[in-house]
Every structure is written in C-alpha cells, then in structure tokens.
C-alpha cells in the first residue's frame, strides 16, 4: 500500500497529510535499520514438545521459519555395527530398542529376513500370534500418539486417556511375552512360547476398550475447532514429494498413496487371512496424518479380533537347529510397522552372526523431509507438524 492511496492520509488535511507521510517514512526507515539477519531458534535437545532428544535449529524471520534442520545423533547407538558382533538370535534384543513404543514390531522383519535366508517358515499358529502381537504393539504405539497429539496443542486430557488405555495393551503384551516394553519374544522359526490361558478372552475385552478410546479421541480431539484450525491445511506434503523422501506408513497414506505393506506384499504373516481397510486421505496435511492414524488404530483392533477368532492350533516353533547358522545370501524384508516401513537388509556369510545388517527405519526417512517441510511455516506449527509426522527418536538414530 503506497502512502498516496492510504485511506488514512486521504482523510487528513494537506499539512497533516505531510506530517503523516513524514512519520510513515520515518517508520519505514526505522524498519530498514532494524532489519536483522533473522533469529536462530534452538528447539531441544531437551524440550517438552520434542519427543526425546531431537534438536531443531530454525532460522526465523519474524514468526516464519526461513530454514530449519533437525540435528540428530543424540541417541545414536550404532546398532548396525553391533549386529555384526552378535549371533542372529541375539540381534533381536538390540533391535527391540529401535522403536521402543512398538518393540515387538521391530523384531518381526529381522526374524523374517533370517527365516527367508534359512528357508524356514514358522508354523501357522506362530504366524498368527506374531501378527496379533504386531498389531497390539501398533495399538500401544499409536494410541500414545493420539493422546500426545492433544498435548502438542495445549489439551491435556487426551494423554491421560491414552496412558490409561495403553496400559491395558501393555498388560496383554506382558502377560503373553513377559516384557512390557521389550518382549524379545520372536525366535527364528517361531515364538518363544504359546499364549497364556485366558489371554484370548482378555484381549477381546481390551480391544473393545480401545475402540471406545478411539471414539473418545475422535470426539474430544478431531472434532475440536482448535485442533482443526491448527492442523488443517498445515504442513502439506504432496504425493510426489512424499515418495521422493521415502515417507512411509500413515504419512504416505495421508498424501493419497494407497499402499500398505500388510496388504500389498506376500509375507508369512496372517494379514491375508483377515479383512481390513487401508485408509487414505487426499489432503496430505497434518490433520490427514493424524486422522489416518486414528483410523488405523481402530482397524488394528478389528484385525486382532478377527485373528483371535481364527487362530489355528499347533506348535509355535518350527524345527530349527540349536545353534543357528544362516546360509550365505542377502535378503530384504520390510513390514508395515506402527511408524511406517521398517526393513532389514541382511547379508549373511554362512556364519553365526550377520555380516552386515542395514536397518531401514521409518522415522529416519519421515523426519528427513522436515528441512523441506518446515520452510515457511510459523513457529507454533513446527510443533504440530513434527507431532503429526510422528517419530520415535530411537527410530531415527538407531
């Protein structure tokens, strides 16, 4: 707006007009003099709104981010190197700690890769129990995300509901595997143990509770006007950009890519025995990502229910030698983990331990888009965008 067309100056007399113009000019000059190179805002490594020790360095121009980059490595544990000095069965106790909210799901792709190299297949009952526990860890993981989502926007209640209901699922995982967070239950050729008595009925009750939790969150959060205005149209990732950065899981499906590894690949898990819907959303914004996760949690409870009804009888362990030597070869197996595609590229040399394991974790790719995505957003939106991308620090740093 030039000063001559300024509606304020047009109403004033000529003398007043001159002084108004002069004051405007002085303001403009002052603004030029005060213009700085921008401010650098350091978020984290320890910050209540980051999930762990992620540090984000953002260069700001006023309220807008000009440049932002996450700084990782505060939790780098070098698992890829450590796997090289361990035997195949020992590796599961390491990789449990990658995505610590859905630990069991980390074990499955590695075990499947080892089984693929050994040409061993777990008995059907073990496959079904694996799938059930896989989905339970998804529910435990994503329900915490749904609760945490509210906290990022100032709503405290949802996180209490999430912790309450996640506890039921963790109790189930604990009673079946013995470990709440790190089950270490998966074995090459099957599972450590069968399910405890009464577990199936208990699980059905919990699944009902979790569906109620999803309904609660949906009315509490997703219908909330503040939530919608903080997430709709913010942090939009178009389909081709999402693919280029290798986004996976709900982040990819929220950008309209209809791809779910549970449905779209042949894998020795029981997903082909159940009927479930893969949700997609065309918008690609923060809201879409959150919404997809809500639907997936609901869908996961239905998968578990169906699997519990049809679980076959039989052994839970195939015949494998006591000392496991994996034949020479290379194998890639990935599964649809709570955070997205998690895969292991395992190279074996016919030895007791792997020669090389490349861990492809979902969060690393999901968060690598942030320098692109955060450019131009407002400071409060950094938090909601990061929350909606949903990452676990251990899954970035490995």
């Amino acid at each position: 707006m030039t000063i001559l067309n300024d509606p304020v100056s047009a109403k004033l007399g000529s003398r007043q007009q001159l002084s108004y113009i002069a004051s405007q000019a002085a303001d403009a000059r002052l603004n030029v003099e005060l213009e700085t190179e921008g401010m650098t805002l350091n978020i984290g490594p320890q910050h209540p709104a980051t999930h762990g020790t992620l540090r984000i360095i953002a260069r700001l121009d006023g309220e807008q981010v000009v440049w932002a980059e996450p700084s990782c490595g505060y939790m780098h544990r070098g698992y890829e190197k450590l796997t090289e000095v361990r035997t195949f069965p020992q590796v599961t106790s390491l990789i449990n700690r990658i995505d610590w909210l859905g630990s069991f799901a980390n074990e499955v792709p590695f075990i499947l890769a080892a089984e693929k190299l050994m040409n061993v297949e777990a008995p059907p009952r073990a496959q079904w129990i694996r799938t059930i526990l896989f989905e339970l860890s998804r529910i435990a993981n994503v329900s915490l995300f749904l609760g945490d989502l509210g906290v990022q926007m100032g709503a405290i209640t949802p996180v209490f509901l999430a912790f309450r209901d996640r506890e039921y699922v963790l109790n189930l995982i604990e009673s079946a595997t013995g470990g709440r967070f790190h089950p270490n239950f998966d074995r090459i050729g099957g599972l450590k143990d069968d399910l405890p008595a009464g577990w199936i009925d208990e699980t059905k009750v919990v699944m009902k509770k979790l569906r109620n939790f999803c309904d609660e969150i949906e009315t509490l959060l997703f219908g909330n006007e503040i939530f919608q205005s903080r997430t709709r149209g913010i942090g939009v990732i178009p389909r081709d950009v999402a693919l280029q950065y290798g986004l996976s899981g709900a982040n990819l499906r929220a950008s309209g890519v209809d791809w779910d590894l549970r449905r779209d690949q042949t894998i020795p898990l029981a997903y082909d025995k159940v009927d479930f819907k893969v949700w997609t959303h065309p918008d690609g914004d923060s809201f879409a990502r959150c919404w997809i996760r809500l639907q997936e949690t609901r869908e996961a409870t239905k998968i578990v229910d169906q699997l519990l009804d049809g679980i076959p009888s039989g052994p839970v362990m195939a015949k494998v030698p006591k000392i496991i030597k994996v034949p020479e070869g290379e194998a890639w197996v990935s599964t649809e983990n709570p955070l997205g595609e998690m895969g292991y590229y395992v190279v074996s040399r016919g030895d007791l331990g792997p020669f090389r394991v490349k861990i492809r974790s979902a969060s690393f790719n999901n968060i690598s888009i942030t320098p692109w995505l955060l450019r131009g957003v407002y400071v409060p939106d950094i938090i909601t965008i990061l929350a909606s991308l949903y990452f676990i620090l251990g899954d970035i740093d490995r």
């Binding site: 059907p124 009952r125 693919l243 950065y245 890519v257 009888s313």
Partner: protein
Amino acid sequence: MHPPRLKGEVNPLSSPAETTAPIVDAPRDAMVAAIRTTLGAAVVDTLVKPGDDIWLRVTTESWCASIQALKDTHSFDYFCFLSAIDWMPSPYGRGEDDPSEPAPVRDTVIRPGYTGGDTRMQMLVRLVNSVTHLGINIKADVPNDSFTIDSICTVFAGANWHEREAHEMFGIGFTGHPDLRNMYLPSDFEGYPMRKDFPLLARMVKPWPGIVDVEPLPGGAAEDEKDGSSEEGAS
C-alpha cells in the same frame, strides 16, 4: 509370574502355508528385461530371486544416470533407502575370541555378494514402484582408491540424509552432495565406524560373555552335529 500355557486347544481355521516356491517369476523377469534394454551397457549384472526380489548392478560412472532412468522410465518412484556395504571381512573377527589366546587365522579375501563386485565398498539403494509395489536393489562399485561416487540427491531429495550417513559411517564421498556434515558423530570424530577395519573396542578389551554359548552343553550330545567347526550343538 506367568499363567499356565495353553496347549493349542484352539479352533483351526487356516490351512498351513504352502511352501512351494514359484520357479518362474514373470513380472520380475519382464522388468529385468525392460531394464536391460533401457540402461544398456550400464548394467553389469542382474539377479532375480523368484517371488522375492530383484538385484541390479550398474557401473560406477552411470550410477546417478541409471537411477534417474529407473525413476523416469520404470516408475521406481519410491526411495526406500541408500547405504553401503563393506565387503572386506573384519580383521578382528566377530569379537567372540578369547584375547588371551593367539588370534586365529582369518579369511581376508573380499568376496562380493549377489550380482558380484570388484571393489571393497559397494553402494546399495532400494527403490520401489509405488503402483505395482515391485522393489529393486541397485548396487554399484565404489572405487577403491577414491571411495567417491556421484550423489543421487538430484534424483531423490530423500537421499540427502542417507548419503550423509553413508559418508560419516563408511567414508564414502558423494560428488554433488550439497552438505556432507556429520549426522550422528561429533564433527571431530576420526575414522569411519561402519568400515570393517574399524575395531569395536568394547569387544576387543575383554572376552565376550556370549562365548559360553558355543561351548558344549553339559551332558549334551554333540555327536549328531559333526560339521567340523569350532562350535558344537546339542539338538
């Protein structure tokens, strides 16, 4: 405390998974044939494991161009990961040896994996077609003298972080990469941890507790496994 276990008393609905692997994999074979025509001389070797995966090895010079062609012509538009493999066997073994004893003689011959290889380091990229969900593992040799290869950041923006990781872990240089800062390690860290000749000190300074696993089990019968190796198993 665990409740008592069920003994498989549940209603059997599913049929046991059939184990007959397909011998011919038509879509993957067709894809490999199409890739060979597109890339021409850039292809060094290919491998199809029926029902499993495709491996493709391209020349070092055509690394970036081949990936561009795979993305443009064959719609491998999903970037899964980029990494490297150091094919040199570790001179330290796997670390389970007793350090008080003399080190055993180790095989130091560099043997490449699928689709071969002439160098110690190899790049490994996995791309997936987001419509057909067909994946491909692409390898390329990294020259032994320079450890440098072209960056594919211009093809897949997501490769940026993966190349930074490969740079600090394997010491591979990427020409054309905008910013090869360390991601995980301190900037003054010396050495490349994922190289096989980088020792894992915790394993060097004391014998590995896991060594007990390969001792004969007390009272265990070792006669049914006679493969002549150092470890003995009870079935």
